[in-house]
């Protein structure tokens, strides 16, 4: 009899917990739809052909778009990736291949885990102090470096994890054929881990393309097309920040448009990389 009551209690608790966790999942999804819906609702009204093709207009003037900022954000992100990807991949390779037991490996792993959580605004301040001040002017480069610093630890750690997932048999087979270690890495291991590494890189790119704080004192912003990375360049996030803080309705609408564009492209990038990853997992 006691057993029976106990079972009932256990089933009840089970049901309760199951209900709560289903509720939590639903709440999470509700939040997502809510935030996205809000951004989409306010942002879509700003999105039109001009938004992608025209330069920004001052408040009170019809038309105008954020074409230069869209291009600028793309270029900044690509430049940051060009710095961070080789850096991160090589450092990650060290961690996976050589740094397992060495003290240096432990230290690097520890430091990259901390750098992942480094506040982006502090990184912006750092880039300002070491690049903008010595160079004497704000520049796209400074912004790219700041973004790269954010990306490097992410790329490093993903590379390490992905390289470690490569089955040991693959290494043994290659080495048994007499290939030198570096050839094995370039020809076999990187190739085997490529999809996973690409995903990691895309996620890192997605993370930095929504960053405002590190660009505020580095690449600044500009209302014109970019001419070189040695001058301030237009970008979406700083534009969003400036416009959202202005009193004029047309600029605020633009800001929501920028928010929508950033959010949807980051989401698209994330979904895209998830799909790659899932294909690979199968």
């Amino acid at each position: 009899m006691a057993v029976h009551i106990d079972t009932r209690r256990r089933v009840l608790i089970n049901k309760l917990v199951m209900g709560v966790s289903t509720g939590a999942a639903l709440a999470g999804l509700t939040m997502l739809v809510w935030i996205l819906g809000d951004v989409a609702l306010k942002g879509l009204s700003a999105i039109n052909w001009d938004f992608f093709t025209k330069l920004p207009a001052p408040p009170g003037e019809e038309g105008g778009g954020l074409a230069n900022a869209i291009v600028g954000t793309l270029i900044l992100t690509v430049a940051a990736a060009l710095i961070a990807v080789p850096f991160g991949v090589l450092a990650g390779t060290y961690l996976a291949e050589f740094g397992k037991t060495e003290k240096l490996g432990a230290a690097v792993r520890y430091v990259s885990d901390i750098l992942v959580s480094a506040p982006s605004i502090v990184i912006g301040v750092f880039a300002y102090l070491v690049i903008v001040i010595p160079m004497g002017n704000f520049s796209g480069w400074a912004g790219a470096v700041a973004l790269a610093i954010i990306m490097i630890p992410v790329v490093t750690r993903t590379t390490e994890e992905m390289l470690r997932l490569v089955p040991i048999e693959m290494r043994e087979a290659t080495l048994a054929l007499g290939a030198p270690y570096w050839k094995m890495m370039l020809g076999v291991i990187y190739r085997a881990a490529a999809t996973g590494m690409t995903t990691g890189i895309l996620l890192a790119v997605a993370r930095v393309s929504g960053e405002t704080a590190p660009l505020l004192f580095t690449s600044l912003n500009s209302p014109y097309w970019l001419e070189s990375l040695n001058e301030p360049i237009a970008n979406l996030t700083v534009t969003l920040f400036n416009y959202a803080m202005s009193p004029y309705e047309d600029w605020q609408t633009m800001a929501w448009g920028a928010a929508f564009l950033i959010t949807s492209s980051v989401l698209a990038l994330t979904v895209f990389s998830r799909i790659i990853l899932m294909k690979r997992m199968r």
Binding site: R10, V11, I13, S21, A24, A25, G28, M31, L32, I35, V39, L90, A91, Y94, L95, A96, F98, G99, K100, L104, G105, V108, V111, D113, I114, V116, S117, A118, P119, I121, V122, I123, V125, F126, L129, V130, I149, R164, L165, V166, P167, I168, R171, E172, L175, Y181, W182, K183, G210, E211, T212, A213, L240, A244, A259, T263, V266, T270, V271, M278
Partner: protein, 321 residues
């Protein structure tokens, strides 16, 4: 997992009898970049330290314990900002951890097979939204709801404690903590789900076979089994919450005052930096702000350092999990 390099990465290196020049160069280059990461952190510390020298000289260790933040008289202390950073992070974790485990449980065990993937991806997408959007959403959508519903309810239940007293304006420590929780839930939930999935089926099935309920399997088998992974996820979220800037700034209320009530406005290190760095004039003011940044860096360093040590001890031979 079958045999992977995780456990035996040293074998190939050892089995290569001759080290060709290419191999030496390869190792040298990769080591160089790994050292580069250490140098990067070193450089950041050095620069922050150098720039905050003025403040450190002026206030000494009292900088950490003073609740003053007065740009007019140039008296600065980090206590309010440190407290705000820690309190908002703790609130975020208290909310995010149980909810995340609930979500993970749902995704790994409860949801019908068909909706698991889309649902899982959807949760992860929350992590992709730029933080400034969270901030604006928190200010315009969440804050009014807080003052209309949640705060009166909490005030009614726990108003006799100092933590839930005072005016219910929807802005303040509690709201900041909730927005932060929303931001870190996707991280913790998705990693926890992956961890749950890795629990060997035999383990779960034998428990089910003995008549355990789903909750009992989770509580007694899955959580202990995946403990390390879950802690790792929580620490990741913790790191995120500590340094979050934009989302917090919009809703924390930005007041340099200590207050017991979670309804009251407060301040965090990151939001103070975001608010005041561009407008700071005067060398001591600026230096104090950089010093705040340094403190945040050190806090992150310490907390994550302990976290990693803890994880390491857990994974050491002899311990379970």
């Amino acid at each position: 997992m079958s045999r992977t390099a995780t456990s035996e990465s040293q074998i190939p290196e050892a089995t290569a009898p001759r080290r060709a020049f290419g191999d030496v160069a390869f190792k040298a280059i990769t080591t160089g970049f790994a050292v580069g990461i250490l140098l990067l952190l070193g450089a950041m510390f050095f620069v922050l330290w150098r720039e905050s020298a003025l403040a450190i000289e002026a206030f000494g260790p009292g900088f950490l314990t003073s609740a003053k933040w007065n740009p007019v008289t140039e008296k600065f202390g980090a206590l309010v900002a440190i407290t705000g950073t820690l309190v908002s992070t703790v609130i975020a974790l208290l909310v995010a951890v149980p909810v995340s485990i609930g979500i993970a449980l749902f995704l790994a065990e409860l949801a019908p097979e068909k909706i698991r993937t889309p649902f899982g991806v959807a949760i992860e997408l929350l992590a992709a939204i730029p933080s400034i959007v969270y901030g604006m959403w928190g200010l315009f959508v969440l804050a009014p709801l807080m003052s209309a519903y949640l705060q009166p309810a909490l005030g009614g239940l726990f108003g006799w404690t100092p933590f839930f007293s005072g005016p219910q304006m929807g802005i303040g420590m509690l709201t900041a903590g909730l927005v932060l929780a929303l931001m870190i839930i996707p991280f913790i939930a998705s990693v926890t789900r992956d961890v749950f999935r890795m629990v060997p089926a035999q383990l779960k099935e034998s428990a089910y076979g003995m008549g355990a309920t789903t909750w009992e399997v989770v509580k007694d088998i899955m959580i202990p089994y995946g403990r390390k992974g879950i802690y790792g996820a929580v620490f990741l979220g913790l790191g995120r919450a500590l340094g979050e800037t934009m989302a917090v700034t919009f809703v924390i209320g930005n007041a340099h005052r200590l207050n017991w009530s979670l309804f009251a406005p407060g301040n965090s290190i990151a939001s103070t930096l975001a608010n005041e760095f561009t407008e700071a004039d005067g060398d001591l003011y600026l230096s104090s702000l950089v010093a705040l940044g340094l403190v945040l860096f050190l806090i992150t360093f310490l907390i994550l350092g302990f976290a990693q040590l803890y994880l390491k001890r857990m994974s050491a031979p002899g311990s379970k999990g």
